[in-house]
Subunit: 219 residues, 2 copies
DNA sequence: GATAAAAGATCTACACCGTAGGATAGGCCG
DNA sequence: CGGCCTATCCTACGGTGTAGATCTTTTATC
């Protein structure tokens, strides 16, 4: 069936596999993703993949590694204020998540210890220290920030991926019984653009304010 | 093989299935979970489950619904200050996540619109409004809070579930090169008890401070 | 260049999965 | 009693991840 004979190098490599895998998940989603489908996409026997990646779990690792390095390669140059660094990191991270909404859930389960990720956190904490924030606050900051980012993006991307139809900030408003939940019903009009830019910036401000406000006043 | 004849009611019900499913995921994890294993656990034919639950996706929905209602049934009575409500909610949520660490990832992907969950958020926002917080802050608060909770708990439960060996706040410290990451290395000693109680309370304080500080000073 | 060894691609096969379709039995109402 | 309805089970189909053997090409060694 194949045009190539046996043993003929198909030009496979860990990188090429990872790239194709990311594209496949972007297109068809994680549920249907699998070794065999990926192999079909690459025009290759399923088992050939195992010559470069030891199993499906490692394949998922390779996917998340690929999208993460793609993201962290574009925070440059570094700002001078720690808030700006945090904001730049958050926005870049969000852009990556928006580009690959169906890959993103993978990232939230895997601990990220790549060199680029560590360097980003290093930059942030270094600036925080220089700004005389308490060390405990500085040490906690990355966990607060990325904890929030993972949870919030998971929520917004999960729903907006299903109904990305109306462009005008539609996103089906949940119908609430005003008798049972008067406050939520009253607040409803304020939830414009679930997962939108302005909402994200407000949330981010809230987080950064929280981090900054745990510090004593700078003289 | 089965002791029962055909058609004999096995006492199956949506609730009994959900309970057994939660127990099974708690014990063996999500990866190996499936209809057939659950049926075996219940001493029942796999297809019998389909008489009560329409498919595997619905089965996962039932699981997350079960653990969530288990959690939200224990916030009572409600405190008077919105911070106390938020803290109570967060702690209860975390306890649920700790009880079912391998189920928890399911919750972070599914939008929660159960009555008990909505009521909890209603209570929180009602108190915030009465405390004269700006409506926009109040409307954003649940998303910030639960966004953070989902992300943070996902991170801590994911790793602590693997090495829950040493009881004394061990949790394998990541070895960092002090030359490449001087700040992170210096901050290392402050990261005591990853996922521990004190850490969680600090993070929670940070979030609540952020929310509160976006409000104008109360007179 | 000849030859051996290593590496990569493929084929086959196995155990497992979710579930559609049908056969069978018990409970319930006439 | 007869007929329906529902819950259980059985069988079967197409899909999955991957272990093991086989074949071919590339690379290393003399």
């Amino acid at each position: 069936m194949s045009r190539r004979g046996r043993g003929t190098p198909a030009g496979l490599s860990r990188e090429r596999i990872a790239t194709a895998a990311v594209a496949l998940v972007d297109r068809d989603g994680l549920e249907t993703f699998g070794v065999r489908r990926l192999a079909a996409e690459l025009g290759v026997d399923p088992m050939s993949i195992y010559n470069h990646i030891p199993g499906k779990a490692a394949l998922l690792d390779a996917i998340s590694e690929a999208v993460l390095t793609e993201a962290s390669a574009q925070v440059d140059p570094w700002p001078q204020d720690w808030r700006d660094v945090a904001r730049a990191l958050a926005r870049t991270y969000r852009e990556m998540a928006t580009r690959h909404p169906r890959v993103f859930p993978l990232l939230t389960t895997r601990a990220q210890t790549s060199a680029t990720a560590l360097e980003a956190v290093e930059q942030l904490t270094a600036l925080m220290r220089r700004a005389n924030l308490p060390d405990q606050v500085t040490a906690d900051a990355p966990l607060v920030l990325f904890g929030f980012l993972n949870g919030y993006l998971l929520a917004t991307l999960g729903t907006s991926a299903r109904d990305s139809q109306g462009e005008s900030a539609g996103s089906t408003q949940l119908e609430l019984d005003p008798l049972a939940y008067p406050t939520l019903a009253a607040l409803g009009p304020l939830q414009t653009g679930f997962g939108g830019d302005e909402e994200f910036e407000r949330m981010l401000d809230t987080i950064l304010t929280g981090i900054a406000s745990r510090a004593p006043r700078p003289s």
